[in-house]
């Protein structure tokens, strides 16, 4: 670890901290339908959209109506994306490479993936998706799924702040305002900034470049014998990339236009864009803490949640950076230039799978940030991390991605933990638990626990089945604990709607495309429903005045207790699985065995 590395990590956090308040105050005004400086441009667009779709913007929805509207919207857009993928070859528009229809299992997996804000990619985008599919099928979902998550978080916050109310707002209005006022304006600016740094934005066919040095590539032929081919040219993929990159990060989507994702120089051209992209991931979730404080009338509570998130973020980045800054112990005694332990060559550490232009600190930070949130974009390959370094992204997702978290999803996930924390605190002092003056009762805790239990159930269930079936093991590239981690990571990433891959596992099989798609849908919608039910129930309650027995939710003690509950309830659920995966791999690596 170096001072320079820590300085860059500190700069990143300070930027997030500085942006949280203005971003949060702006978002609160948007969702409270108060005046903003963008109104002259956007209000006419908003009114036109409501007129065309027949939405009554003043109609309020109960939690069940809000939930069903969200489900109908998600179902319709999933089916549209599936159809577009299957028909892309027949649409004579923005398909200069004449790419074929996307295979059925893959098309369904991708449609489920982008609808749920997961953006897991079992395919190589530049070889599979036409420009039209990328824009109309995938980038649109980047906006919609993010705006849906934000709307749901706002609905939960309304549930906390409203008293004796039956409704949580209007899903269609929240979806529209989140897209028009928050996501679109920031993405326009961000896209142009990315282009200024070298990200591409065009509709050209792919370029072909002649290699300076010919390459001999050996592959296995159809008869099983090795066949060597001399490669003299390289295809350089093109496309409308910058516009998709902006929302990919801001919406914590993470699905890359290119297979290499944010390690590709067209997606992430410079260290400055690397900082911008990480900042984009956290800016809305950090602002949501301020929205929470503002809309509930308890700014201190919002900052207490922010503090709990920051503590967990710091612990994650510290561990990941420390683990990656160590050279691989198996490389001791070999050429130190290869081991990268010489200070004259590099600060030392594990550079496998990392971009030299980003280095260890920014790779560890990116990996932590992208999995703290439900983004899933990568600028380095998590599969190549040291066992404990690779465990951190996994643990981040396993905690429920509540460390700032996905846009909206991070906040409502954290609020479920808050409800459980308040409940446990109430048990400790022997009083009926209260959350900002509202009594937390059996129904709230039952549904909060349902939310928390579905997540490990779907991850561990599918992982257990996959390690027992030939279909689950046949596409692994590593065996032993590393292979288990690859499978565990795939289902964790899918259930958490993260979408980052541990690599090494070829998930483009019927088994993985189908089961990962189911995992994504369950991880998104089967958790949202009980969350909305808690919100709807909280909204109906009276707000009791604070008394001496009230547990303050704006204190340091509350933040620390919240961290404790997250670690005990969230992370410890997965400890046995982690001990068989990355922890065992770490110990075996120290003993001289690798997989």
């Amino acid at each position: 670890m170096t001072t320079n590395g820590w300085l860059q990590i500190a700069v990143f956090f300070v930027l997030v901290l500085l942006a949280a308040k203005p971003m949060g105050l702006y978002m609160a005004r948007v969702y409270e339908r108060k005046k903003t400086w963008l109104d002259p441009v956007l209000v006419p667009v908003e009114r036109l959209l409501y007129k065309l779709t027949g939405v009554d913007a003043d109609a309020e929805m109960r939690w069940t109506e809000y939930g069903v509207a969200m489900l109908i919207f998600s179902c319709a857009t999933l089916l549209l994306t599936y159809a577009l993928e299957r028909l892309q070859h027949a649409i004579p528009l923005w398909n200069p490479q004449h790419l074929a229809a996307v295979e059925q299992y893959l098309a369904w997996n991708t449609a489920a993936s982008f609808t749920t804000n997961t953006n897991w990619q079992s395919y190589v985008p530049e070889q599979t998706m036409s420009y039209l599919t990328q824009m109309a099928g995938l980038a649109t979902h980047n906006f919609w799924s993010a705006a849906t998550g934000m709307a749901l978080a706002i609905a939960f916050i309304r549930g906390i702040s409203r008293r004796e109310a039956k409704t949580l707002g209007n899903f269609w209005v929240d979806l529209t305002r989140g897209t028009l006022w928050v996501l679109l304006p920031i993405c326009v600016v961000s896209s142009l900034a990315l282009v200024s740094q070298g990200a591409i934005q065009n509709f050209k066919p792919y370029d072909t470049a002649t290699l300076v040095e010919k390459q001999n590539v050996t592959a296995t032929g159809t008869d099983g014998k090795p066949v060597t081919t001399v490669v003299t040219t390289q295809t350089i993929a093109q496309g409308p990339l910058a516009s998709q990159e902006a929302i990919k990060m801001l919406g914590t989507n993470g699905g890359g236009f290119m297979n290499a994702n944010s390690a590709h120089p067209f997606e992430n051209p410079t260290p400055l864009t690397n900082l911008m992209e990480m900042f984009s991931i956290f800016v809305i979730p950090a602002g949501m803490c301020v929205v929470l404080g503002r809309m509930t009338g308890s700014p201190g509570h919002g900052w207490a949640v922010f503090a709990a998130m920051s503590i967990l973020w710091f612990c994650g980045v510290l561990t990941c950076y420390w683990a990656e800054a160590q050279p691989n112990p198996l490389l001791k005694g070999v050429d130190q230039h290869v081991a990268m332990a010489g200070p004259a060559v590099s600060p030392g550490g594990n550079m496998e799978g990392k971009e030299v232009r980003f280095g260890i600190a920014n790779s560890a930070l990116f990996a932590t940030v992208t999995t703290d949130a439900s983004c899933g974009a990568v600028n380095s390959m998590h599969d190549s991390f040291m066992p404990l370094g690779g465990m951190i992204p996994l643990v981040d997702i396993m905690m429920g991605e509540i460390v700032f978290g996905g846009v909206g999803a991070g906040m409502y996930g954290m609020l479920i933990f808050v409800v459980v924390t308040v409940f446990i605190a109430g048990l400790m002092v022997g009083r009926t638990p209260e959350y900002l003056g509202k009594k937390v009762e059996a129904y709230d805790v039952q549904l909060s626990m349902l939310y928390l239990l579905i997540f490990p159930l779907v991850i561990l269930g599918f992982t257990a089945v996959s390690v027992l079936l030939p279909a689950g093991l046949s596409s692994l590239s590593n065996h032993g604990p590393h292979g288990l981690t690859q499978i565990l990571y795939a289902y964790t990433s899918s259930a958490g709607n993260n979408g980052s891959a541990f690599a090494g596992l070829n998930a483009n099989t019927h088994w993985y495309n189908t089961t990962l798609g189911i995992t994504m849908l369950v991880g998104r919608f089967m958790m949202i429903v009980p969350m909305l039910a808690v919100a709807g129930n909280l909204a109906t309650k009276k707000i009791a005045p604070a008394s001496v027995g009230t547990f303050p939710v704006n204190s340091t003690l509350f933040a620390l207790l919240l961290v404790g509950v997250i670690l005990i309830v969230g992370a410890l659920t997965f400890f046995p699985a982690l001990s068989l995966g990355p922890i065992l791999e770490h110990l075996l690596l120290r003993a001289g065995t690798s997989f």
């Binding site: 489900l71 089916l79 299992y105 638990p433 349902l450 089967m526 909305l532 129930n537």
Partner: protein, 34 residues
């Protein structure tokens, strides 16, 4: 599997999710007291 199977499967999932909404709502009636 055919396209129709994926279409139908997706719709069935969301129909189950709608039933799940009503299941969570009805759970309130049977809840105990804190």
């Amino acid at each position: 599997m055919s396209d129709i199977a994926f279409f139908a499967g997706s719709i069935v999932f969301f129909l189950v999710a709608v039933l799940y909404v009503h299941g969570c709502q009805s759970l309130k009636g049977g809840g105990g007291h804190a």
